[in-house]
Symmetry: C2
Subunit: 156 residues, 2 copies
Amino acid sequence: MADEVLFEFLHMEIVSYVQRSAKKDEKENIASKLESMGFRVGQRMIERFTRETPRFSTELDIIKFVCKDFWSGAFKKQVDNLRTNHQGVYVLQDNKFKLLVPMSAGKQYLEAAPRYLAFTCGLIRGALSNLGMNCVVTAEVSTMPACKFQIMIQRS
Amino acid sequence: MADEVLFEFLHMEIVSYVQRSAKKDEKENIASKLESMGFRVGQRMIERFTRETPRFSTELDIIKFVCKDFWSGAFKKQVDNLRTNHQGVYVLQDNKFKLLVPMSAGKQYLEAAPRYLAFTCGLIRGALSNLGMNCVVTAEVSTMPACKFQIMIQRS
């Protein structure tokens, strides 16, 4: 549990550092900066994770790998629910998302939640990108600490 | 190992983000910004770590706790060597410091090493500060990935 704490606390610091260091005219870019960091981390992580994994045969296999192995590695639990429309949209639901847990008492921080999800959106996008899937990842929170990540595959 | 990787990669991203976002006139502040982040993370971490620990009786007990429990929690190994002059100076040596390992092939990154140690200097300072010890923490690298952290207790 200790190492998890280190990551969690460092993540909080980064969110606040990026907020503080952003110039006035780039307040909207905070999420995008955090997303980029997540993207690069996701790319490197998935390389480690798939080093000894056989090649995936379908898109769904890749998404399942992210839901199970990758999520467990990053957040010490699997995604709770995966849904898809079988047309390139996948929704990953985590009922107790680790990075939201510390701020999920009451509704007062609901507004701040998106900033705490941007890194993870990037993390997913980076991981999938390295496996050859270009996508857009967005997050949605209704009741903290539950949240949903929506992956939309971009066909080229 | 997976979660460690997440922390390590996030740490790398932060070092590079702080470098990029620093204005020209504050290049020297990069280490100090990273140190401050580490300080705040260290403060929060030590609270978790000592929640069920009996009160420490001596300064040396606190330092030993940092070398063993705290270091294991953060870096998955203990400090390899602890030395002290018994006058408020402690030197913690880690022969394979995790945040230096990825860049320790050859000497080419030796110059960049201090930036990868600043966060950890702050981490130690924050942890000790929360246990009532004010100190200055500096780091020194001779042969990567080994490094030494020097703690100088500030008596008031």
